[in-house]
């Protein structure tokens, strides 16, 4: 039950089907990596899980701790515990990071519950410290004018403040220099634990040296074609996606 279970998901956008009978289960306490060539549908998966209204779900189900989340409003899915670290985080002019995260936390409070602002700021600065984000950033507009790397760090900051049950991290490593990669990986590793399942979408084996996954999945043309231990990432890095394609061709013939 304590898992994010995606079963036979068929979904697409603008009349084009992208996810084809996609199945994957991420139990709490584990980190899974999802790799796959450009355009194969990784971000589509993330958006569908998060309930983006532009995507059309034809069939399948997604159970989060046993409860169906397909068809729910995105904000409800988020409050239920799913967090998506965006591949391309949006810029929100005029809304400070502090106010943005605060609004997200307040949305999770019971009616009438008081918001403890001093405690909030203590915790925020603590997390910023771990991610080596300058305190001054808390007053800046969300992602506005941030460098690519700063945006990704800001995603992880939000993730660590909201403490979701399941995290989907869409290419959080792209755009990070090697030092930033280590900092972000450290932030993510601190979040690992028995109460959290993490799905890391990435193109690079390098990230997995720092966030060591329990499982690696290779996605191709809308479905998972290979699952294995972390060594699979190394193999993939060595052989490239031609290997996957050739293998598929062999199986088909």
């Amino acid at each position: 039950m304590s898992q994010l279970e995606i079963k036979n998901l068929n979904a697409g956008i603008a009349g084009q089907s992208i996810l084809k009978d996609f199945s994957l289960t991420v139990p709490k306490g584990e980190v899974h990596a999802l790799m796959g060539p450009n355009g194969t549908g990784k971000s589509t998966l993330a958006k569908v899980l998060a309930g983006h209204e532009d995507y059309e779900v034809e069939s399948g189900s997604v159970l989060m701790d046993g409860e169906e989340i397909l068809g729910k409003e995105p904000d409800e899915v988020a409050r239920d515990g799913l967090f998506l670290a965006f591949q391309y985080p949006l810029e929100i002019p005029g809304v400070s990071i502090a106010n943005f995260i605060r609004a997200a936390l307040q949305a999770r409070q019971e009616d009438g519950e008081k918001f403890d602002a001093p405690a909030y700021y203590r915790r925020l600065y603590e997390k910023m410290n771990i991610l080596q984000i300058d305190k001054k950033f808390s007053a800046r507009s969300v992602n506005e004018g941030f460098s690519g790397g700063e945006k990704k760090r800001c995603e992880i900051l939000q993730m660590s403040m909201l403490e979701p049950s399941y995290c989907v991290m869409d290419e959080t490593d792209s755009g990070l220099d090697i030092d930033a990669l280590k900092i972000v990986a450290n932030g993510v590793n601190l979040m690992r634990g028995p109460d959290r399942g993490i799905l890391v979408i990435t193109h690079y084996q390098r990230l997995l040296d720092y966030i060591v996954p329990d499982k690696v999945h290779v996605m191709y043309e809308g479905r998972i074609v290979h699952s294995g231990e972390k060594e699979l990432a190394l193999e993939l890095e060595e052989k490239g996606y031609d290997w996957v394609r050739d293998e598929l061709a062999t199986t088909a013939s």
């Binding site: 998060a50 995105p74 904000d75 965006f86 005029g94 809304v95 995260i101 997200a104």
Partner: protein, 456 residues
């Protein structure tokens, strides 16, 4: 209150010569000023009302020039005055405060002695005319906008006695702002606020003008004129809050004459009036001037905000930068028409003009008419207008963080405002203004989140 309402409504409207004759006979002003008044009244009678086909009135669809329902109000009751004074509280830390209700002066807070000793003048006009006739003679009624409202200028000048003169002599620098309130209270009252701000060489100071209604359900008319004069090196920050009720018809006709090396800021928050016309004209007459103009308008129901601006560069090496933002709800309309004019000798001018409109309901309408007229050849000028709705991807980002749609929309809208609000550069005032805007939003359901960005 009922008897008051009837008494006022039987009187002739301010557009009627009987009204003017009566006003003139009751006026306690010096003969010379009364003679001006007569001249302006004649001019008012001669000039035609604007028509929508006039260039400066394009897109203005909800013009209502019937002035018969608006009269000069009787003196306010003690209760009204007490109420008004208790609500004149936008700026606690200030250098002085003057409060008018329906043109009547009801409070005048003396400026600090130290400022008076240095020659600072902050007085109601009627008092300034006897104490500082030379200043009044020099600056009063010297300027008018060239944006299509000559008739209303004439009307203003014929009637206006309420208003103030703020004069800061050379080299005097003042931190705390001067505050002036122009309240509308009586049903059908016609207001003629006059704002005269003069900064001597290298002076530095700021002023806040607040125009508000005491009651939400009373009609009224306000025709305000503001003239700013910035002499060489002066730094003047003028902030205006137009928060009349939604039954008012209001005009704000402003000019800014700026000389060499000045830094002039003008910022307007526009919330009220059924129909509000705002004209703002800047004339850069000296090299090195730096002018920034900001405006934020929140329109709802069937409000129409009509904004016309003119940035005139007559001298080289100067900067003018204008940013007008409008957020529209319900069936409201806004019109922004702005022109940058750069004279032949005004080389190395930097002039910018931006109008951004946020449509929060599909039924609202924003019109934008940006323009450039450049005779110099070495300039940097740009103008741009965008009209769009809340960005759907941004909204999804909020939702994915668990923030409900209604709150997300509010945060996004306030995010849109923040760029202008923070320019008020006074924390207390900013908080108060966010409160005013919040109140306007409280019960709104916004429906527009599909992207429809058009850029010109």
């Amino acid at each position: 209150m009922n008897t008051e309402a009837t008494a006022v409504q039987t009187a002739p409207g301010v557009g009627d010569s009987a009204s003017f004759e009566r006003h003139l006979s009751l006026s306690a002003l010096p003969e010379s000023w009364k003679n001006w008044k007569k001249e302006y009244w004649e001019k008012y009678e001669e000039l035609p009302f604007p028509r929508t086909r006039d260039e400066h009135w394009r897109f203005a669809s909800r013009i209502d020039f019937d002035l018969s329902g608006f009269q000069l109000a009787e003196d306010a009751s003690d209760d009204t005055i007490e109420e008004v004074l208790s609500r004149s509280n936008l700026v606690a830390e200030r250098s002085g405060q003057i409060v008018f209700v329906d043109n009547q002066l009801v409070s005048e807070e003396a400026i600090p002695e130290e400022l008076a000793a240095r020659g600072v003048v902050f007085l109601p006009l009627a008092e300034a005319v006897t104490k500082h006739p030379e200043l009044v003679e020099r600056y009063l009624f010297q300027e008018s906008t060239d944006l299509g409202s000559d008739k209303f200028h004439a009307l203003h000048n014929a009637y206006s006695e309420s208003g103030y003169l703020l004069y800061v002599p050379d080299n005097v620098e003042i931190d705390a702002p001067f505050a002036v309130y122009h309240w509308h209270a009586a049903p059908g009252a016609a207001l003629f606020p006059h704002i005269l701000v003069v900064g001597g060489r290298n002076s530095r100071f700021s002023v806040v003008d607040a125009q508000q209604s005491l009651f939400e359900d009373r009609t009224g008319f306000s025709c305000a004129v503001g003239n700013v004069f910035a002499e060489d090196g002066a730094k003047i920050y003028r902030r205006t809050i137009q928060n009349f009720n939604n039954r008012m018809v209001s005009f704000q006709l402003d000019t800014n004459n700026v000389d060499r090396d000045t830094a002039v800021r003008g910022i307007n928050l526009n919330l009220g009036s059924r129909r509000a016309r705002f004209e703002n004209e800047v004339r850069i007459n000296g090299a090195g001037a730096d002018v920034k103009l900001y405006s934020l308008t929140v329109a709802e129901n069937d409000q129409e905000f009509d904004q016309r601006t003119l940035q005139i560069h007559n001298a080289p090496n100067a900067v003018s930068d204008l940013l007008y933002k409008n957020a529209l709800m319900d069936h409201s309309r806004t019109i922004f028409s702005g022109l940058i004019k750069v004279a032949k000798d005004a080389q190395q001018t930097d002039a910018y003009q931006t109008n951004r409109n946020l449509l929060l309901n599909d039924t609202a309408q924003a019109n934008s008419l940006p323009g450039l007229e450049i005779e110099a050849n070495d300039v940097k000028c740009s103008h741009g207008a965008t009209t769009g709705q809340l960005d759907r991807d941004e909204l999804f980002y909020f939702l994915q963080r668990g923030i409900p749609k209604r709150i997300a929309q509010q945060l996004m809208v306030f995010g849109f405002f923040e760029e202008v609000i923070e320019q008020f550069d006074n924390e207390e005032l900013e908080e108060n203004l966010r409160g005013l805007i919040q109140a306007k939003f409280e019960k709104k359901q916004l429906d527009a989140v599909t992207p429809k960005m058009e850029t010109t």
